[in-house]
């Protein structure tokens, strides 16, 4: 009887192994990549992320693939629209049969699509969606390697408070779920330092900022913060510079898009001395892996340097590949278990998720948004100090831990 039990156990194990193998046989293993490729999404960023995710696919396959299979990254265009995002998530999972999903740029895309994936038990590692609620809902299959919006905002206001004699800050924000909360948090933070903030929010499609710039000018701010993605960030910076309110005239924190230095200098020729927030390990501390990615990325996209969102996109795919390898199966629950225990040497740094099903964030007195959230996202502030400078060469001026140069405050 005992022997029979053993036999049965072996048989079940063998069967399980076989079925696992059978699952692994269904090559190639597919991972979805969400990215905005048409308007009104941020197409420029989307194209960069697509390139990075396809490089990740190539790198992983060159290193032997996943579970003996080739990896195939299926790109899906979210258009930056929540309704498209959930449809695309649905398509990736049910039509293309992906086992996990990476990428995503717009916060609204993350908010709308996470439920679909969670209901279908498909793990997602979001790359560049900042809104706190994405992980704040504590869903089992949702991970994020981007910073929380509240962290990113705190970099902004902490750096702003260091500006000498600062009394008033003008914030230009896009009226989206990235811009509005970020503006609120930044204002709140500034208020805690005794600095007043005036927020101007614009429709993303706006081209002509002359009226807003004049109005900002009349407010006499000491510092300007731009929270606009896409070409809006460029248009505003250059038009502010035209009107004598640009980065060369007063301390000016340009939007995320300014990291794409080649496009930045083309669109904002008068944009020297702008501060830009950077996510991920600073360029001077880049690992071999990050440097190699940068070279490959530059060759594919013809851009000056890799942007942080593209590095995040690359890592989101790579970390999923590692998790699947460690799980030994493409089963969603197993991948989640692997992700919760993962230590991944990514291009952004060592990625891990301290809180999740095994350890609730509340144990350490943290908020729900720390759930499945990579805590060590390095947030730095760089400053362009020479015209035409690459965002990699630009000195890091904040925080002190990473500092490579002193900030220049133009109007002092």
């Amino acid at each position: 009887m005992k022997r029979f039990g053993l036999l049965a156990a072996t048989a079940i194990l063998a069967l399980a192994a076989y079925s696992g193998a059978a699952e692994a046989q269904s090559c190639p293993i597919k991972i979805g990549g969400l990215t905005p490729l048409s308007a009104p999404g941020a197409v420029g960023a989307g194209e960069g992320m697509r390139a990075a995710m396809l490089i990740a696919e190539k790198d992983i396959n060159a290193a032997g693939g996943i579970l003996g299979c080739d990896l195939k990254v299926i790109i899906a265009d979210t258009e930056g629209l929540p309704e498209k995002a959930s449809a695309m998530m649905e398509k990736l999972i049910t039509q293309d049969g992906v086992v996990a999903v990476g990428g995503a740029y717009h916060s609204s895309v993350g908010v709308a699509s996470k439920d679909v994936a969670n209901n279908r038990k498909i793990p997602v590692v979001f790359a560049e969606t900042w809104n706190d609620t994405i992980t704040g809902d504590k869903q089992k299959f949702i991970f994020r390697i981007a910073p929380l919006s509240s962290w990113a905002s705190s970099t902004l206001w902490q750096a702003a408070l260091l500006v000498p004699n600062i009394k008033k800050v003008a914030i230009l924000t896009e009226n989206t779920d990235y811009g509005i909360p970020a503006a609120q948090e930044t204002s709140k933070g500034l208020a805690s330092g005794g600095v007043e903030a005036v927020t101007f929010s614009v429709d993303i499609g706006t081209q002509d900022y002359a009226g807003i710039v004049e109005r900002m000018k009349a407010e006499k701010p000491d510092y300007i913060i731009v929270l606009a993605t896409g070409e809006a960030g460029y248009n505003f910076a250059q038009q502010a510079a035209d009107a004598g309110m640009g980065p060369q005239d007063i301390p000016f924190q340009a939007g995320q898009v300014a990291l794409e230095s080649k496009a930045y200098w083309e669109n904002v020729p008068d944009g020297n001395f702008a501060f830009v927030q950077r996510i991920g390990t600073p360029a001077n501390l880049w690992s071999e892996k990050a440097l190699a990615l940068n070279e490959a990325y530059k060759a594919v996209t013809n851009r000056g340097v890799i942007e942080s969102y593209s590095m995040e996109a690359y890592d989101s795919i790579a970390i999923l590949a590692q998790a699947i390898n460690e799980a030994g199966t493409t089963d969603g629950d197993a991948i989640v278990a692997a992700l919760e225990g993962i230590s991944h040497e990514g291009t952004l740094g060592r990625i891990y998720f301290p809180y999740g099903t095994k350890k609730d964030p509340s144990v350490d007195g943290k908020g729900d948004e720390w759930w499945h959230q990579w805590p060590d996202v390095a947030l730095t502030m760089i400053q362009y100090q020479e015209e035409g400078q690459s965002s990699v060469d630009a000195p890091i001026v904040w925080p002190d831990a990473y500092k490579t140069g002193e900030p220049i405050y133009v109007n002092q």
């Binding site: 308007a39 194209e47 004049e214 009349a218 070409e231 035209d242 009107a243 496009a263 669109n267």
Partner: protein
């Protein structure tokens, strides 16, 4: 706003009397068998500015509605609204800060001239073909794209004027070819409803061009470098240049108003080309023929003008003007395949405001829209909302114009052609 009840009270009062006025005036003019085409407008404006004091005599006497009777109440109601706003929000920059007001007005004027110019092509097309071209924004986009690629990628160092001319030529060719291929059935009466056909088929063109460009040229924001630098001027003296001070990219007047180089060159170019266009339309045979066709198609045909050829010329010329505007502004605004949407929307507003088909109307309409937008972004008390509403300002003008005076500022009813009915 400090005393919102003042503003909203006055506003509500004005709206009430405007509505009453427009309905009552129309009723009284209709009863006396008079021309009612302007009655609602005059009634609304007089009602808004004077309330029952002006309305009662108007309705009782039903005088002839002269231009003066139309302009004065309109200006008066704007004035009343401004005064109410001034009392309601005395802290607002628009009320308290003179140099702010001056720079907003200059901004509004400059962008208005540019808007007017964008709408010129659309107006020209409408006056000859009776078609509202929904591909107008795409011609604008093509103009910017070709100029950018010529000056920066294909032939760096090329004279910008030459690049702009080439872009215009390309737009002209596309316009002419499209008109020959797709718009000809309209004139031959093969199409049931030519106006709708025109809108739809240009819509198709817009769709095709926009996505074709996105698929081939990508969607990264691009921008051409400044075409010209300002010469260095310091007046009256270089030590104290309070009158005018220029740097390469900027001009400052009276130490308060700053005008950026790309805008300035664009606006100047727009005025020059506008003058040239007026000369062409009024002094050359072809131009006169164009105008003749716009006034009376059949009579022009009898006089030996080939309306068919004029159609092609007008559509191509309209596209070319849009491309020129795009080429001038690719140095001011970052270019994307979707960049044409905003000029197209503004052009629609101006087309209606100026009076469908009136070329001076387009220019005046452009300036009015520019000023209205400047006032909206500058004066709306909540800075968060002021800028968010920018897309709506123009559309509010459009709907108001259509409701009160569908012929626009300089409009006339057309005698013939597809636009005979409105």
């Amino acid at each position: 706003m400090e005393f919102p009840h003042i503003f909203w009270g006055v506003f509500g009062w004005m709206i009430f009397w405007a509505v009453t006025g427009s309905i009552a005036t129309r009723y009284f003019y209709l009863r006396r068998d008079l021309d009612t085409s302007n009655a609602p407008f005059v009634g609304a404006m007089l009602g808004a500015s004077t309330g029952p004091i002006g309305l009662v005599p108007l309705c009782l006497n039903t005088p002839e509605l002269t231009t003066r009777l139309m302009v004065m109440p309109a200006l008066a109601s704007v004035g009343v609204l401004m005064i109410a706003f001034g009392f309601a929000d005395p802290e607002n920059f628009c009320v308290a800060n003179g140099s702010f007001v001056a720079s907003q007005i200059v901004n509004g004027l400059i962008i208005g001239i540019i808007y007017g110019f964008m709408a010129l092509g659309l107006t020209l097309i409408f006056s000859i073909l009776g078609v509202v071209s929904f591909a107008h924004g795409e011609f604008y986009m093509i103009g910017g794209m070709i100029t950018y690629f010529l000056t920066k990628v294909w032939l760096p160092g090329i004279n910008p004027i030459l690049a702009i001319s080439l872009a215009c030529l390309a737009a002209f060719a596309i316009g002419a070819a499209f008109e020959r291929m797709f718009l000809t059935p309209m004139y031959e009466g093969k199409v049931d409803r030519p106006v709708e056909y025109g809108i739809l088929v240009t819509f198709g063109l817009a769709f095709t061009i926009q996505y074709f460009v996105q698929a081939t040229a990508g969607a990264n924001p691009l921008k051409a470098s400044r075409y010209f630098d300002f010469p260095r001027i310091r007046l009256p003296s270089s030590a104290d240049p309070w009158l005018i001070k220029t740097s390469r990219g900027n001009m400052e007047l009276f130490e308060t108003i700053s005008i950026s180089n790309p805008r300035f060159t664009a606006a100047v170019m727009c005025i020059i080309v506008f003058g040239a266009l007026m000369f062409f339309l009024h002094r050359t045979w072809t131009g006169k023929a164009l105008r003749a066709v716009s006034q009376d198609r059949e009579a022009a045909a009898i006089a030996g003008i080939n309306p068919d050829r004029m159609n092609m010329l007008a559509f191509a010329l309209g596209g070319m003007i849009a491309a020129l505007a795009g080429a001038m502004l690719v140095q001011a605004f970052s270019w994307l395949p979707q960049v044409g949407a905003i000029p197209a929307m503004r052009s629609f507003v101006i087309l209606v405001l100026g009076g469908l088909g009136s070329i001076p109307g387009a220019f005046v309409g452009g300036v009015i829209v520019g000023l209205f937008e400047a006032a909206g972004t500058g004066c709306l008390p909540d800075p968060q909302k002021a800028a968010s509403y920018i897309p709506a300002y123009g559309m509010i003008i459009l709907t108001l114009t259509l409701l009160l005076r569908p012929t626009g500022l300089f409009g006339r009813r057309f005698a013939t052609g597809a636009h005979g009915k409105f």
